[in-house]
Symmetry: C2
Subunit: 334 residues, 2 copies
Amino acid sequence: MEDKILLAHGSGGKLSHDLISKNFLPLFRNPLLDKLDDAAVFELNGRLAFTTDSYVVNPVFFPGGDIGKLAVCGTVNDLAMSGATPLYLSVALVIEEGFPLADLQRVMKSVQSAAEEAEVQVITGDTKVVNRGSADGLFINTAGIGVVPRGVDISGASARPGDRVVISGTIGEHGIAVMSQREGLRFSGSIESDCASLNKLVADMLATGGRIHCLRDPTRGGLAGTLNEFAAQSGAGIKITEEAIPVQDAVHAACELLGFDPLHVANEGKLVVIVDRDDAEKVLAKMRRNRLGKQSAIIGEVVAEHPGRVVMETCLGASRIVDMPVGELLPRIC
Amino acid sequence: MEDKILLAHGSGGKLSHDLISKNFLPLFRNPLLDKLDDAAVFELNGRLAFTTDSYVVNPVFFPGGDIGKLAVCGTVNDLAMSGATPLYLSVALVIEEGFPLADLQRVMKSVQSAAEEAEVQVITGDTKVVNRGSADGLFINTAGIGVVPRGVDISGASARPGDRVVISGTIGEHGIAVMSQREGLRFSGSIESDCASLNKLVADMLATGGRIHCLRDPTRGGLAGTLNEFAAQSGAGIKITEEAIPVQDAVHAACELLGFDPLHVANEGKLVVIVDRDDAEKVLAKMRRNRLGKQSAIIGEVVAEHPGRVVMETCLGASRIVDMPVGELLPRIC
């Protein structure tokens, strides 16, 4: 076996088969994948959720995770945010010729660990190799399928005045962790990506019976992006309080230094939930009992005023509009 | 609006939203996509098929198609090859900074046309932009979901001695068309990619009630790759006759000139079916009545001898082993 990926590994010929059968199949062994047909076939009934994301994070390995873990958690989370129980994933690789085989193996091991932890199965995949210089190392696409339990109806368009806005923990770690790795920066206190699968946290929240209206993970665009999406989709206003938003000191310091707003920085293991006022405390209490929601906090509410806009009361007592980020602060963060 | 794609178009911020809402949504308008939640949610019951493929074809535009058409047809075909009726697609883009917006619009229009023709809906998507030099123009991943009708049970492992091997038409056009476009070669007679969605051809074949055992589209690795996969998965031998395999004269000439074996060259609108001996003529007759199967032909049979191997009787009367292609003849053909 070569120690670098060759073009022929993506040819559909003998080397492709060897790469897949020696390196990928033993990791993911399950009856659906093992058939190696063009599509995986399985029985499933009900309201299904379907989503896709491509991951182009640079560098491939960063504090707290790598592109493989990210590709599983990200798609699991997109399913979970519709209230679905994630079940099945596809994994499609675009690899640059010359990519070290050992790195690919390490990434695929991460895919496997993250899938096992989230209790999802990888059942279909694809491997393409492009010439050196035609891609940057490794890109991964994952698509996912889940089942939405009866009675669950969550959408970014369902926020109503009076609802409470809850975040599941501190914001900004993922973006800062990837960027500091890429740029070789060091901050006092190590900042690790929060990359994690949130499906079990969501299951806990749903189990409370609390009326959950909107649910989303604030990835690219950060908390500001997600809240603006909710406001726009629901035609409602959102009011948040800066003081209530949990941010790690190290992230705060890094953002100050670099001129970033933590509200705009990507997260990969956090969710924002908009919940009926009367159920907010119940849902919050349950979230805090989950390992991934310990620092959950109510950070604001949905209001009838300024529909489509997010307004923040700052630590200084002033009000400011929280805009959707316009440019690209941190390219290739996921 | 800029006339080139910027990094900020992939930021998850304002420019991302503008790109998607102005350029993509109007093309694909459907209630599932229009909700713009993290996952599309729909009711579906039964035996489902799920598949994924990433497309990295170079160049993006080639005679007979482009990366957008290819990304739809390829995934529709992977679903159809499991006997499924394709229903839903995801479309995930990785775009290189600086890619012309007009080209992206043209590709997405192709995605829309191909989806409409195949009667599938694009219901979820993703857009990432990477720095100039970190990808080559545009890569597209499509994943797809379909429903397998009751009673249909097709797998590459189901070939039995006595079964007939049928190809749905001439081989090798796609690979030669892409390569000649890329290398600026001209052959007498224009060679166009055969890129097409085969789901309706498969539906016609299933409607005959003929016992279809294996079905696959011979893309990367060509006809030789697919037949070797069937032989390996089924633990049977396959015997084919060179004379019976339809090849366009221009493709033949191009392959001779370039030293390629048409059996190794990729197709994107052809299928290979292994069918019970007694049903072969019935299925073949039906295939020939479909626009995409006019030149269908029986090219061989499954045998008990040489299990796992494909053997061809050549035009000269000799027998030779048809190997799985080993290296990479034509990188980035799909």
